[in-house]
Symmetry: D2
C-alpha cells in the first residue's frame, strides 16, 4: 500500500546545466527577459516578473548540456518527511539537502524517481523583491513565472500512474483505443505542472514560462528575427489544442527547449473533467493544424541522476505519436484537404466532447 | 472558539434581480458575451466560455434591482454540514436548499452572514458543455469565468476578520496608519474571490468576469460606443494598482456594476506575501493615476436577505476612502504636478515594498 | 516612347469566380468578416469595415474557380482615356465598360495586360455606408480594406518593368546577383498594391486584406480551428521579412488564397528607398525563419481573359525561388543550426542594409 | 488670386525648446522609445523606428519651454520656391535656410504663417538607418513615425481655409449649426497631418507619434506607473470618436503634450468623404464617453516666431468647445443616464452618417 505523498504545491524551478554561462545569460536574461535573483561564477538564479520566490530556473555551468533536477514546492516543512518516506518506500535513492546549499531555498529532499528524473521537494523559499509592477524593467517576452515541466518518458501510462500516486490531477490526454500518448497533470490550478511525451526517456522535453498576453510571445519572435537568431525558434507561435494555450518553443544555446505559454484555464474545482483528444485529431498539438516539426518529437535534454551522472535512456515502450498519423506531417495538399475540411467544418462540436 | 469553516473552493456565481429580463439578456449575452446555460420566463443562467460548471450568474426578473445572493462552491458534500454549523454558531439564519431548486446545482446551504449578505454554499454542479475552444461562438468581451465579488461593507476590518475565519487568504490591502480601507481575499489561486470596499453596507459593489487578454476588454468599450451606450462604461479601461489587473467597469441596464478583469497573478503558494498599498498612493486604484469617478465610490446594489427582502444599510464606520486624498479627484494640474512627478520618477521601488 | 499612364490611386477590388456562392459567402462573410455591400443570385459584392467605396471583392458564381479581373481606381475620369490609350499603344486588347455594369462602379476601361491579367481601371465609385466604428457588427478577422494583389508571373523582371511604366514605385525585392525573384510595388502609401511571385503565369497568387492589429489575425485562426476547418490555414500567422507585416494565408473553399495583413509601413515620401532582400536570407518570407509550405509556391488561381476564358500558362522564365536555398525547406536541425545562429546573432545590422 | 501652394508630402518634424535636455532625453528616448539620430550639447534629433528620414523631432535646450517650428516635407526642390512665393504673396515673413543648418535636412524655406506659427518646408532629407525590424532595440511605446501636429488657433474656420489653400484635404470636423470647433486635415493618406483646436492661439496643442498596435500604448502607461510618473499621463488611453484612433496623451517634463496614436484609416482616394461630428456627441473626442480633462482644453505650448520670440496670443474668436456641452464634464450620474443610454443604444447608425 502506497504511503501518503507530500502535499505538492506546484512546479517551482528546474536546474539546467549549460556549457557557456555567458551565452545562456544572454539568451535567458537579455533576450527572453528573465530576472536575475542571484549569480555566481558558475551559476545564475532566474525568475519571472510575477514570481515571489527566489528562482524558477538555475543555470549551472558544466561540461555537457543536461537537466540536473526538477523542483516542486511542498506545503509544509513536514511534507519533506513525507516525501523522503514516499520515495524510500518506492525503493528510490533519496538525499537530504540542508538549507543554504541552494541559494534562496530551505532544506530539501531529493530523489531519483521511478521515471529516472531527479526531483527535489522544498518548503521554505526566500521571498524575492516583488517586480510584477516594474514594467520599466521588463524585456523580451516578459515571462511571469514558471508554468510547467514536460518530460519525455518511455511509458506514458506508467508516468501518469506514478504522478497520480503523488496526488496530481489529470487535465488532458492524447490517446487512442489502446495507447496513452501524452498526459497533462496538475497540482496548482492550471492545466499542468507536469506533462509527458512518449519516447526514449528519461529526458527533459522542455520547461515552460507563463506570459500574460500573446503579443509578448510574438515580440520575442520578432526580437530573435532581428538578431538573425531565428533558428532558435523551433515551433510556433500557435494555439495548442491541448490546454488551449498560445505557445512558442525556443531552443537555448545548449539546445534546451523553452516554451512560452499563455491563456490556459482554471482547473481548481473538485471533479475537474478530463479532456481527451484523439491522436488522430490534427488540432491536438496545434489547433490551427500546423505540422509539429520533427525535432520537437525527437530531441530533448539528457537528465542527470542524484550524483550528477547522465541517466541512460530506455526506448519508448509504446507506439510513437509521430508515427501514428494526423500530425501535420501527413497534411494533405489543399486540393485534397478542401472538400474534407468543408465537410468537417459543418460539425459544431469537438470529437472529444 | 470558532467552528471549522467549510472548505471553500472559489466564488462560483451570483444571483442578481433585474427589472427587465430582455434588456438584461441583451446586455449580458448579446453585448458582453456570456453563454446561456439555461433560461426560463423569469430567469437566465449564464456562464463564461471557459466555465465547466452550470453557471456563473443568475439573472432573475423582479420588481426592484437587487443582489439576491453570492454562491461559493465547497470541496465536498460534507462541507455543507460544516457551513451550516459554522453559521449557526455565529447566530446566523441558515436554510437548506434541496438539489434541483437551482438548476444545475446540487443541495445547498444558505446563510445571512455577519456582514448582511446572503451567501450560498454548494458542492455538486452539473458540468456544462466545454466551450473554451468554440472561438466561433465568442462575442463581446469573451468572458472566460467569474473571477470575484466586491462587497461594500460598513466595517472593512470586520469583513476581513470574518472572511479570515472562513479560511480566506489576504493578498492586498489599502490602508493607512489607522484604517483598513479595502482588502482583497482569496481561496482559489488568484488575487481574490472577494474584496471589500468601505461604505454604507451591505451592498454588492460588483461582480467580475475574467477575460484572457486586454484587447478583449478594449473591444467591449468599442462595441458600447458603437451602440451609443457609452454611458454604461463607468470607469476604465485601466490598470489596477491593487492586483495589477487590467480592468473595466460597466453598469448593466439596472445599474448593477460588472467588472472585466484580466492579468492578475498566482497566489497559491504557502505564506503568500501581502501587498499593502498606502491610501495616499494615487496608483492604488488606477496604476496610471486616473481619478476614480465618484459614482464608483457611492453607488452599489441593494442586497436581499434570506427571505428576499432588502437589507437595511449601516453607515460606513470608518473614514471614507474617497475623502482621504490621493484619489485623482485631487489630481494636480500638470503645472503643479510636473516637478513632483519628476522627483518621484527617480524612485526605483514601490512605497509598499 | 511610352504613353503617359493613368494616375492609379490604388488596388481597389478583385473579381473571383467561385463554384459555390453559398460556401464562398460562408467563408468570406460569416467567418472572415467581410461586409456585404450588394448581392444577387449570382454574385456577392463585399468590402472591409473601413472601406468607403462600394466593394473590394466580387464573388461571382461560375463553373470553374478563377480570377476574372483586378481593378485599380484612377484619380480622374480623364484617366480612363489615358488607360485606354496606354494599353492600345502596347497592342493590348481593351474594352470600355459602361457605368452600371458593375454595381457601385462607374464607367471603366478593361485591358488584357502584357502579363496576361485582365485589369480594370475606374474612377467613379458609389460611397458605401461608413462602418468603421460599427464595432458591434464586426466578425472574424475584422478586415478593414483591400491591401494588395499578388501575381504569379513567368518573368518577374518584366512584370516589374511593366508596372514601373504604369507609375508604380518599388518598395522591396528578393534577388541575388542575377535574378529578381520577387518585387513589391505601390501607388498608395503602403508597401504595395501589387507584388510578383515567379512561376508559371499568369495566375493570381492571392488578394490581401488589411486588419488593424495582430490579435485579429490570431482570432480567425482560432475560429477556423473551432470549426475543424484548420486545413484552410495554409501558412502563418507569422511576421514577413519583406514588408515587416504580420501575415496569415488562408485558402477559400475554391482554393483561392487570401492573405490577412497588418502593420506594414508608410512609403509616401519622394525617393523612398528600396529594401533588397537576399534570396539566401531565411527571414525574407518569414522573419522567424519558418519554412514556406510548398503549396504556397506552387498553387495559384487561374486567370481569365477579357472574354472570360482561362489564360494559358507560360512556364517560369527564371530560377524558381523555392529551389534556390534558404527557404526553411533546408532548415538545419537545431544541433547544426545552433552555433551558426549564435554566431549570426552577434550581428547588429541586416545583410540588406 | 492665390498662388499655387508647394506640394506638401506630410508633416515631417517639430522643433521643441526644452529647459532640461537630459530630462527631455530621459522622457523621449529612455521612456517613450524614440531613436536618437544625432545629438549635440544643445540638441537632440529623434525619430521613430519606421522613419527613413533623419528626424521627426528636434529637442533644443533653451531658457523657456516653447515650440520653435513645424516642418513639412515637400515633393521636389522646386516646391521650395513655390513655398517662398506663396507666403510672400500672403505678406508673411519668410527666410531661406541653407542646407546643413539643420542636421540631416537640406535647404529649407521658413515662414510665419497667417495663424502665427513658424512653419518650415524642406525637400531633401538624409536617409536614416532602417530600424523598423530592429525589434531588439525597441523600447517604451515603440513609436514608428511622426503622425501629425495639433494646433490651438483662435479661429478654426480661418485655419481650415488657410490649410485648404495649402492643398490639404479635410477628413473630419466637430461642428454645430454655427461653429466649426475643430478640423482634421491631411496630405499623406491618413486622417491628418494637422488638426485645429479652438482657443487662445497660436499655441501647439500636441505632436503625435504613430504606433502599430494598442498594446504598445498600454505599455507606456504601465511603465510610467512603475516609475511613479503617472502624473505625466494626462488623458487616455482611449478610442477617439474623430479618427477612430486609439490614443494616449502624455506631458513631457516641460509640459509639451505628446500623443500616441494608432489605427486610424486610409484617406487617399479622390473625393474622400468628410465625417462631421456634432459637438453634442459625447463620443466625438472619446468614443467611450469619458470626460476630456480640463487641462487638455486649456494648456498648450507657446510658439516662437521666425526670430525665436514668443508669439503673443489672440483670444479664441469662437465659442469654446469645452463650454458647449456633451463633454463628459456634464456626464450624468448613472441613474440619470441609464434610461437615456438604453434608448439610444437601440439606434443602429451614427447621428453623423
Amino acid at each position: 500500500m502506497p504511503l501518503p505523498p507530500p502535499d505538492i504545491v506546484r512546479a517551482a524551478y528546474a536546474e539546467l546545466v549549460v556549457t557557456d554561462l555567458a551565452e545562456a545569460r544572454r539568451f535567458y536574461v537579455d533576450l527572453l527577459g528573465l530576472v536575475v535573483s542571484a549569480e555566481s561564477d558558475t551559476a545564475l538564479y532566474l525568475r519571472g516578473y510575477d514570481e515571489l520566490i527566489h528562482h524558477n530556473l538555475i543555470l549551472r555551468a558544466g561540461p555537457e548540456s543536461a537537466a540536473a533536477r526538477l523542483a516542486y514546492r511542498v506545503r509544509t516543512a513536514a511534507d519533506l518527511d513525507l516525501a523522503e518516506a514516499f520515495f524510500a518506500a518506492l525503493g528510490a535513492r533519496t538525499a537530504r539537502v540542508p538549507a543554504g546549499v541552494t541559494p534562496g531555498v530551505g532544506e530539501a529532499v531529493r530523489a531519483e524517481d521511478p521515471l529516472g528524473f531527479t526531483v527535489e521537494f522544498f518548503h521554505h523559499a526566500d521571498h524575492a523583491e516583488r517586480l510584477q509592477q516594474r514594467y520599466d524593467l521588463r524585456r523580451g517576452a516578459e515571462p511571469a513565472r514558471l508554468d510547467h515541466f514536460n518530460l519525455v518518458v518511455s511509458d506514458v501510462r506508467a508516468a501518469y500512474e506514478y504522478y497520480t500516486s503523488l496526488g496530481f490531477g489529470l487535465s488532458e490526454t492524447i490517446e487512442d483505443e489502446t495507447t496513452l500518448y501524452a498526459a497533462w497533470m496538475f497540482r496548482k490550478q492550471t492545466v499542468h505542472d507536469v506533462a509527458f511525451t512518449g519516447g526514449a526517456g528519461p529526458r527533459l522535453h522542455h520547461v515552460a514560462f507563463f506570459t500574460h498576453e500573446s503579443h509578448q510571445v510574438l515580440r520575442i519572435c520578432d526580437i530573435l528575427g532581428s538578431l538573425h537568431a531565428e533558428a532558435q525558434i523551433e515551433r510556433g507561435p500557435g494555439r495548442h489544442g491541448v490546454s488551449n494555450a498560445f505557445y512558442l518553443y525556443l531552443r537555448d544555446p545548449d539546445g534546451h527547449r523553452v516554451e512560452l505559454y499563455t491563456s490556459d484555464y482554471y482547473t481548481g474545482d473538485p471533479g475537474h473533467p478530463v479532456l481527451r483528444w484523439s491522436v488522430r485529431d490534427p488540432r491536438r498539438r496545434d489547433f490551427w493544424g500546423h505540422p509539429v516539426v520533427e525535432s520537437w518529437y525527437t530531441e530533448a535534454s539528457t537528465v542527470l541522476d542524484l550524483d550528477g551522472r547522465p541517466q541512460p535512456l530506455l526506448a519508448g515502450k509504446q507506439t510513437a505519436e509521430i508515427t501514428v498519423g494526423a500530425d501535420g506531417f501527413t497534411r494533405l495538399s489543399f486540393a485534397g484537404a478542401a472538400s474534407d475540411a468543408l465537410a468537417r467544418s459543418a460539425m459544431i462540436h469537438f470529437d472529444h466532447d
